[in-house]
Each structure stands twice: as structure tokens, then as C-alpha cells.
């Protein structure tokens, strides 16, 4: 059983997103592991713990700092870490999917997991594109995957609290919405130990453009209105609310 987890290193939205020209100013933001990838790593490790096998984590190293995320994945139970040294912070999901698919092709995986989406594009394309390149089936929005005898039972979430169970033959690609358990915590002591000893394999990105989006313009959203904070004593506040309701013709 070989599970490959495709991860993404994306700009952190914990801080303000500075814009330069038609994209994010990549030099002045921190990059972090996509939060859905924490779930796909957890899902992979859970399967490995249940049925054995190996977990390979692979990602495009867009700014040359992917090692931290890979060490974290190793600390959580992945066995092998691979980075595609592209150093192209603007590479979108389409481009990354192409590079990833080319690399994964040679790994003969039984199962490929990706986070169902990432906060830097939210189009959820990475998994489906990898599946398309590799000519494999794709299922997104999974909340539990169990593997038995060459098959997987997959729980997929739909809006409105509906879940559906699928039986799928391996290999296939899944977009993980959530692992069945919250992602485990990797102690920093362990991550630091691994950082000193682990070997991260590096491969070069393939040639050739992918399809995808072209950025024309990027700008922070314009603030159009804001809430009025009503202050004062309870009486004053109540009076102001009545006044407002009246002025809108609601009273």
C-alpha cells in the first residue's frame, strides 16, 4: 500500500496580504502548509496505521522553504518526503498539478490524497487535475477513507448534513475535506529532531506550460460600508434602535 499525499505551500492569511502588480507580493508574506493538507496527511497516516504501507508526501517548493512542512509531515508519520524544486511562488494549481502528476506517475501509488481545496485559490482543482493527468477517478469532499483488499470505503460529505458512502477500487485520487480525527499534534522537539536527520528528496519540475488562469489584476477589496456601533446606557441604546427602526419604516 503506497499512499501519496500532494501538499501545497501557500501564502499565510494570518497576516495582511500585500499586493504587488497583479499578484500577491510573495516576498513579504509567510508561506504555510495548506490547512486541508493537514487533514490529508492525517488521513494517510490513519490508513497506514490501519492496514500498513508507506506514505509519501510531495509538494512543489514554490519559495524554497517547503522543508518545514515536509519535516512536519514526517513527524506526523509520513515515511518519505519529496519536493519539486520550482521556486515559482506564483505557480497556480494547474501548473502545480502538472508537475505533481509527472512526479507521482513514477511512484506507482495505490492512493493519492490532496486537500480538497486551499485558501489561495479555493477552486479545489489540484486533486481533479492530478486525477485527469494520471487518468484516475477522483472523489472530493471526503471525511473518512478506509482501505480493505484493494478497495476503499469512502465517506463523502454533501451540504445539508448528508453523507454518502462509496466503494471505490484502488487506485484513485481523493480530495480530503476532513480526516476522521483531528490532525495529530507533532511536538516541535520531534520536528526539530527530524529536521536534523531526515532526507528530503528533490526533483526538478517538468517542462512545458499548463493550462490555467492568467491574473489580470489583483486589488484588496474596497470597504463599502460598516456597522454603526450604538453606545450609551441601555435606555439611550433602546431609543436609538427605535429611531432607526422607525426611519426604515419598520415600526
Amino acid at each position: 500500500m503506497h499512499i501519496v499525499v500532494a501538499i501545497k505551500h501557500i501564502p499565510s492569511i494570518a497576516d495582511e496580504l500585500p499586493v504587488r502588480h497583479n499578484n500577491i507580493d510573495f516576498d513579504s508574506v509567510d508561506f504555510v502548509l495548506n490547512e486541508w493538507d493537514e487533514h490529508s496527511i492525517e488521513q494517510a497516516v490513519l490508513i497506514k496505521e490501519a492496514v500498513g504501507g508507506t506514505v509519501t508526501v510531495i509538494g512543489v517548493d514554490v519559495i524554497g522553504e517547503l522543508d518545514n512542512a515536509l519535516h512536519l509531515a514526517l513527524a506526523k508519520g509520513a515515511d518519505r518526503a519529496v519536493k519539486i524544486a520550482a521556486e515559482e511562488p506564483g505557480a497556480d494549481s494547474h501548473q502545480q498539478a502538472k508537475w505533481l502528476a509527472e512526479a507521482i506517475q513514477n511512484m506507482s501509488p495505490d492512493l493519492i490524497l490532496s486537500g480538497v481545496q486551499a485558501s489561495n485559490d479555493l477552486d479545489g482543482q489540484l486533486g481533479p487535475l492530478i486525477a485527469a493527468y494520471l487518468d484516475l477517478p477522483y472523489i472530493g469532499g471526503t471525511s473518512a477513507i478506509e482501505v480493505t483488499n484493494g478497495k476503499a470505503m469512502v465517506l463523502k460529505e454533501f451540504p445539508g448534513g448528508i453523507g454518502m458512502r462509496y466503494e471505490i477500487a484502488l487506485p484513485f485520487v481523493a480530495g480530503v475535506q476532513a480526516a476522521p480525527k483531528p490532525p495529530r499534534y507533532a511536538p516541535v522537539s520531534k520536528v526539530r529532531q527530524i529536521a536534523q536527520t531526515a532526507k528530503v528528496e528533490t526533483i526538478e519540475p517538468g517542462e512545458g506550460e499548463s493550462g490555467g488562469l492568467r491574473f489580470l489584476k489583483m486589488a484588496p477589496p474596497v470597504v463599502t460600508g460598516h456597522a454603526e456601533m450604538i453606545q450609551g446606557t441601555a435606555k439611550e441604546i433602546a431609543a436609538r434602535i427605535v429611531e432607526l427602526l422607525k426611519s426604515r419604516g419598520l415600526l
Partner: protein, 428 residues
């Protein structure tokens, strides 16, 4: 205060549980046991962890249990842990592993120097590395510290946003571009927690009024991570310490003043092991030096009865008991009353050693929060105000006065009291 209820033992004439006859008085001995029926295995397992060796020193005198705050709200203390281990408890997997606040009161009285302040972090670290149970809230605090630089999970870029509310200039070292006398390390809770911000603003106004040449690190400041270390995440602590030491050493300053006792403990007692040894003082120790200049500024009397809670990490861990009291007594009109447990025997608020981030977990294993017990003690003195000197405490005690029906008692940092006496324009 509610009357103390005594537990009533269940005594039934005829009880059979799982086929075992347990009828009769509760203290009935089913079978004689000799001490040799127990193995020291689980005690040795703890004591074999580097740092936790002193666990095996215990000779069961029980002095520690009498002073352990957790025993007041539960069943705890080094002696009991030792005994539990002797009778089959694996500390690394037991909930007891997370209940100690590293308050050091047991160490103060233990004739055998059984040191929970070292034992707990060591065993917790081992448990974390072995993938054993870790309370979820604590894990969240670890993750937040690793990801955002503070246990609250607030963005780094907002670390200095509080300065806008201070009403006085709060210079930032990076922008200042010159050496300063005092580097004021603000701390995570004073930077982000609404009630912590109140104390930070008060401190800024006091420093300004005293004409102190100070600056802060602003967005470059990150959590000291000492409580995370005591909760078992040594790697996280080391990562933060490396960053902080490099940041502190980027600038020229003569002395560091910290708002919190945990930061004092980190920078003064632990960072030296990582190569940092520059002077660090708590704000109470610092301000007391300026008492002559401060007194004339304290123009507005505060006619209130005030009791002071000694933070474990300022008092027992760092020996500062008098400076906070001197500052309080400098405020005209203020009457300082003591709680029965004070100074060396101060009662822990429950926030130390990671307890700050384990309240829901500890609630499952204790009868009440330590902060609630302490708030009741404070209220029993008849005090109008519970004064504190640790940024963990304001929020802990404010919750506790509410949940114990003591809302009439205000919880204020000494900084806030000094500031109010200085300005006089705020109601207490």
C-alpha cells in the same frame, strides 16, 4: 462561604459488584496486603526520565500534600502521585500528569527535594513524544504558539495594535533606531487579551509619567513559551527562545522590564541556559525603585480595601513578595489586607505550568478551579479589590469572582491601580 461538606461513605449491608462481595463498613479490609505486593516499577519508570529522578526520593512524609493547592480541590500532591504509581498508576498516561501547576509549594516544604517543577515537564515531554494523551486545549495552545507566535492564536501583525489605546507614545525599537535604557517586553496576554491590554496601557502611561526611556519590540515580540516548556513542549520552547534571544540581542538596551512573572522566569532563569544573560526585572521590582518619583504622581486616593494575590512565578519562583505590596501601599487611601495564604505560602491561581490552557480538562478532575478557590479566599477578607501582578490572572480571577458569586470584588492589576490613582478620572 459555603459550609464544607464532608463526603459520606457508602455503606450497605449487602453489596455484590462484579461477583465480589463488598458489603460492610467502607473501611473494611478485604484481604491483608504487605508492602511487598507492590512493585516499584512505575515509580522507577518516572524516575528514569532525565529531570524526573527526584520522584523516587519521596519517603511519604506527606508535608507536600498539606500545601498542594490541587489537593484542596481534588486528590493530589507528590506523595499521592508516588503512592498511586506504587499501586499501579502509570503517570505518563494518567490524567494526574496534567494537573500540577508547577507552583513549587511542595518543593518549599519537601525534606527530600522532590521537585515537581522538574519532574512534570520531563514526564510530560516524554508523554508528548510518545504520542500519549495530551489535553486538546493544551495542544491548541502549542499549535498557536508554533504557528502564530502566541498561545492565543492572534496574528503577529496585531501584536502592537494595543499601543493605539495607550494615549501616550509607545516607541518601537525598530523604528527608534537608537539604544534605550529599558526594553519593555510586553507579553502575549497584555498585547492581545482585552483585560491584558488595559494593564499594558496603564504601564505605558506610568512609564511615560516617570520619564523612563523605554521601547518595546512591537511586531518583533513573540511569546516567551515558558509555560509551554513546563507543560512539556521543550522543543517549542527552544524554538521560541532561539528567536527571542536573537531578537533581544539585535538591539542596545540596558535592562529588560517584563509585565509577567512567567516571562521573568523564562528570561532570568531559563534563557541563560541558551546563552542569554542580560538583566531582567518584573515591573513591580522595577517601579519600586522609582517610589519617590511615583508617590507624588499618585494624587487621587483609592479608598478601598485591597488584597494581593502572590503569583507563584513572582513569589516562590523568584522571591519577590514585597515590591508589589510596597506599590499598593504607596496609593493614598488604599488599605491592604492579607489573605491567610500569602507570600511563600501563596495559593496558586491554577494558571501556571500550562494550567492556563487546561481549564476544561482540569474541571473534569477537580471539584472547582483553583482560581475560584482563591477568589473565595480573597472575598473572605472583605476586600473590594483583588490586586494581581500577572497577566494570566486578571481573566482567570474575573471569571472566578463571577462563578463564585463575588462580583462585588473587582480584579485589577497593580498597574491599573497605580494608573487610576495617577489619573483619577476612572471609577473603581
Amino acid at each position: 462561604m459555603a459550609p464544607i461538606e464532608k463526603a459520606v461513605a457508602i455503606e450497605k449491608e449487602n453489596v455484590i459488584v462484579d461477583g465480589m462481595d463488598i458489603s460492610g463498613p467502607w473501611s473494611r479490609i478485604f484481604e491483608q496486603r504487605t508492602i511487598f505486593d507492590y512493585t516499584p516499577e512505575l515509580i522507577e519508570k518516572v524516575a528514569s526520565i532525565p529531570g524526573a529522578e527526584s520522584f523516587a526520593n519521596c519517603y511519604q512524609c506527606a508535608k507536600c500534600v498539606a500545601v498542594c493547592p490541587v489537593d484542596v480541590v481534588g486528590n493530589y500532591g507528590p506523595r499521592k502521585l508516588y503512592r498511586y504509581a506504587q499501586t499501579g498508576m502509570d503517570l505518563s498516561e494518567a490524567p494526574q500528569l496534567w494537573l500540577c501547576t508547577t507552583c513549587a509549594n511542595c518543593l518549599r516544604v519537601c525534606p527530600k527535594e522532590v521537585n515537581m517543577v522538574r519532574i512534570m515537564p520531563a514526564v510530560r515531554e516524554q508523554a508528548i513524544l510518545d504520542g500519549k494523551f495530551v489535553p486538546a486545549e493544551l495542544q491548541q495552545a502549542f499549535e498557536n504558539t508554533a504557528k502564530y507566535g502566541n498561545p492565543l492564536g492572534q496574528p503577529q501583525r496585531k501584536r502592537d495594535a494595543w499601543t493605539q489605546n495607550a494615549g501616550v507614545p509607545v516607541p518601537i525599537l525598530k523604528d527608534l533606531g537608537r539604544p534605550v535604557d529599558v526594553l519593555w517586553y510586553v507579553g502575549s496576554y497584555p498585547s492581545y487579551h482585552p483585560r491584558g491590554i488595559d494593564a499594558a496601557c496603564a504601564a505605558a502611561r506610568i512609564f511615560n509619567a516617570l520619564g523612563i526611556d523605554f521601547a518595546i519590540l512591537g511586531k518583533e515580540e513573540k511569546d516567551d513559551a515558558d509555560s509551554q516548556r513546563l507543560a512539556g513542549e521543550k522543543g517549542l520552547f527552544e524554538m521560541m527562545a532561539e528567536y527571542n534571544i536573537a531578537t533581544f540581542n539585535k538591539y542596545e538596551w540596558k535592562e529588560m522590564v517584563v509585565t509577567g512573572p512567567h516571562e521573568l522566569n523564562a528570561f532570568k532563569n531559563v534563557y541563560p541556559r541558551y546563552g542569554f544573560s542580560r538583566p531582567v526585572v518584573h515591573y513591580t521590582t522595577f517601579l519600586v525603585r522609582y517610589l519617590d518619583r511615583l508617590k507624588p504622581l499618585l494624587k487621587h486616593p483609592i479608598h478601598k480595601k485591597v488584597t494581593y494575590h502572590d503569583p507563584c512565578y513572582l513569589g516562590r519562583h523568584n522571591g519577590e513578595y514585597e515590591a508589589p505590596r510596597q506599590l499598593l501601599q504607596a496609593i493614598p487611601g488604599l488599605e491592604l489586607v492579607e489573605m491567610p495564604r500569602n507570600r511563600e505560602n501563596g495559593f496558586c491561581c491554577g494558571g501556571g505550568g500550562g494550567g492556563m490552557w487546561m481549564d476544561s480538562f482540569t474541571a473534569q478532575h477537580t471539584t472547582m478551579r483553583l482560581s475560584e478557590k482563591r477568589a473565595m479566599e480573597a472575598a473572605a477578607t472583605g476586600a473590594d479589590i483583588l490586586a494581581v501582578a500577572c497577566p494570566f490572572e486578571v481573566s482567570r480571577f474575573e471569571d472566578a469572582v463571577k462563578s463564585t458569586g463575588n462580583e462585588h470584588m473587582r480584579v485589577l492589576d497593580i498597574l491599573e491601580l497605580l494608573d487610576r490613582s495617577m489619573r483619577g478620572d476612572v471609577e473603581i
